[in-house]
């Protein structure tokens, strides 16, 4: 868990040393990041490559954090021009000593069409500063690790506890750090010695190593608990090729990992297998997930039943929402004749559903028609409260982000809206101090200060034509109040 000024994050971290950009709403929903849809910051390169992010859903919720880590070390370009309106709350640095970011992201990908005329710098990113900043923040959060591996291409500095774990279980380079060295010292030492701590993503690890992993899994499971208590002494002996800081972080991860090692359900799913691109097949040492029928990815962990159900539920929900969005996209408001979801103002991209009929409006149009000032003589009950198209009278308008295609969906939207309102206190009722003009048909919550709900008492009266009507509260004072007989009342 990492606490940052953007909120609290769970999960693991993947770093990309390139600038992260705020992702506009339209793009956010068009990207497929597993079942995560709330992505706000992302590296443009990763988006266009579409490889690192789309195959692993685990780093998404920490992209905020990455933005913060990275940006706090980069000079704000608005500040440079003396015009940053965010002031102290700006996530970029307002310190002239920090370097400005002027790196060409296309060059990182290997090709920039501007060539030598590009206004951005054509250098490969090797960002030790960012890496050390990452390390500090992550240390505070005590879950993840970071390091820089500038040697590779732009995508190599991908570090996450997951990848650490993976490389460990693969018998990869970080094996030397784990207690496995005690379990099977002969097998692991050569690897550890040759490449002490550099952590690579699974794709870089030589293919011959799975045999090590097998031995690790086979012998290890029973002995981890005994070794987990003494990693620190071993740590002091390791050659100091990286910051001590990083060591201690790795250590913590190890301990955390060892505590859970016994349970195979904690094994992460093979990220390559997610998209079906894992070439190792059954020889792969990772757990291969089962196919999710909705999103088409092999992301159902065979051993985590709860997670499977949760994923299936969320996935089906997202699919439904996406379909609804697609249908809603083309629907025009009858009043302004514009597509509701393409309106210029973000706040206006909302439907206003009338309770009585199924004609589409945007919320702003239907609200201004019903609440706006009208020329005298217009009948409130039939004309203004009626649908502008069919004149069916509706007593309330339901705001909704999507349009519906069946009466059931409409009922769902309406009920969801009412449920939401019924959890909010009515400001007219004012916890029993005020008087709500909507009485018992008010959508908001009528609760007293002690949380007790208002009792609903309906008074039925026989009307002149014989039908029964429900009356509002009638008090004797309503009739005599006008006479101002009571000096205290009038005062």
């Amino acid at each position: 868990m990492i606490k940052s000024k953007f909120g609290t994050f769970f999960g693991e971290v993947r770093t990309c040393p390139l600038p992260l950009y705020f992702l506009p709403l339209e793009e956010r929903s068009s990207l497929e990041y597993g079942d995560q849809t709330d992505i706000w910051f992302v590296c443009r390169l990763c988006v266009s490559d579409n490889t690192p992010i789309s195959t692993s859903s685990y780093h998404i919720d920490t992209i905020f954090l990455l933005a913060m880590v990275w940006t706090s070390k980069v000079l704000c370009k608005y500040f440079m021009h003396g015009a940053c309106y965010k002031g102290e709350s700006c996530e970029f640095s307002h310190n002239w000593d920090d370097p400005a970011s002027n790196v060409c992201i296309y060059y990182q990908r290997g090709y920039c069409s501007y060539g030598s005329k590009c206004r951005y710098e054509h250098v490969k990113v090797q960002n030790p500063e960012v890496a050390s900043a990452m390390a500090k923040v992550l240390k505070a959060g005590t879950i993840a690790s970071a390091s820089s591996s500038p040697a590779g291409s732009a995508s190599t500095p991908v570090i996450s506890p997951v990848s650490v774990r993976k490389s460990v279980s693969l018998g990869g380079s970080s094996k030397g750090l784990s207690s496995t060295s005690k379990v099977s010292p002969a097998a692991s030492t050569p690897v550890a010695a040759s490449n002490p701590i550099t952590i690579k993503s699974p794709s870089v690890i030589p293919a011959g190593l799975p045999s090590l992993a097998n031995s690790y899994h086979g012998e290890g499971s029973g002995k981890f608990s005994s070794t987990s208590s003494s990693p620190s002494s071993r740590w002091q002996n390791t050659p100091k090729t990286l910051d001590d800081e990083l060591y201690s972080i790795e250590q913590e991860i190890e301990v955390a990992r060892l505590l859970h090692e016994d349970d195979p359900a904690d094994e992460p799913i093979c990220t390559l297998g997610l998209t079906g691109s894992c070439t190792r097949g059954s020889a792969c040492t990772h757990v291969h997930g089962d196919l999710c029928p909705t999103c088409g990815k092999n992301c159902l962990h065979p051993l985590r039943a709860e997670e499977r159900e949760e994923h299936l539920r969320v996935c089906a929900q997202n699919r439904k929402r996406l379909e609804a969005m697609l249908i809603s996209q083309d629907i025009e408001c009858v009043v302004c004749l514009e597509r509701v979801l393409s309106k210029p103002a973000l706040a206006e991209r909302k439907f206003g559903i009338l309770s009585g009929c199924d004609h589409p409006f945007c919320i702003s149009c239907v609200r201004s028609w019903r609440n706006g000032s009208h020329p005298p003589g217009m009948d409130l009950k039939t004309i203004i409260r009626g649908c502008p198209v069919c004149r069916t009278v509706s007593h309330y308008v339901i705001p909704s982000l999507t349009w519906f295609s069946s009466p059931d969906e409409k009922a769902e939207i309406v009920n969801g809206y009412k449920k939401k309102l019924s959890s909010l206190d009515c400001r007219y009722f004012d916890q029993g101090n005020g008087n709500c003009p909507f009485g018992t048909s008010c959508f908001y919550k009528h609760a007293y200060k002690d949380g007790r709900l208002e009792e609903i008492k309906l008074r039925h009266l026989g009307a002149a034509d014989g039908s029964a009507v429900i009356t509002k509260n009638i008090r004797l004072s309503d009739f005599i109040g006008k006479l101002d007989l009571d000096p205290r009342r009038s005062g």
Binding site: V334, C336, H359, H374, V389, R391
Partner: protein, 160 residues
């Protein structure tokens, strides 16, 4: 400004459907999108059928929440149209307005009004009285005369 966006939409619609609906010709003032002119053909089987009538449409800022002001420029003898000012007595232009109506549909409503005079709420009392007293022939011939006098003469102008 919502009115301007909406009027532009309607303008585009009118441009696209040009020639499809020969009964109504909507023209926008080139300098002011809030001022429109409409030329409507009198409906068949009425004394107005040979005429082409010009309407002046003045769109208020609050449109479409508020109805446009429509009046006859061409003189017309009809119970619901003021003989001198050209003011139209039509509920949808006053109390029964709906923001879903467009200028095109307003013109269509005016044509429908020509075909179905409502003598019980007259703006032209003489015409209303003729109808209410059952003198249909008198109404027909008066309306035909004014159509020929005022509306038919403008046909060459409008088609030119």
């Amino acid at each position: 400004m919502a009115s301007r966006a909406r009027l532009f939409k309607e303008y585009k619609e009118v441009q696209r459907d040009r020639g499809q609906d020969s009964d109504i010709q909507l023209l926008c003032d080139e300098t002011n999108i809030y001022r429109w002119t409409a030329l409507i053909k009198g409906p068949t089987d009425t004394p107005y059928q040979e005429g082409v009538f010009q309407l002046a449409i003045n769109v208020p800022e609050q449109y479409p929440l508020v109805p446009p002001q429509v009046r006859f420029v061409t003189k017309i003898f009809h119970p619901n149209v003021h003989f001198k000012t050209g003011e139209i007595c039509l509920d949808i232009l006053k109390t029964a307005w709906s923001p879903a109506w467009t200028l095109q549909s307003v013109c269509r409503a005016v044509i429908a009004l020509l075909a179905h005079p409502e003598a019980d709420s007259p703006l032209n009392c003489d015409c209303g009285n003729l109808l209410r007293s059952g003198d249909n022939r008198g109404y027909q011939s008066m309306a035909l005369m004014y159509t020929r006098l005022a509306a038919v003469a403008s046909v060459p102008n409008s088609s030119a």
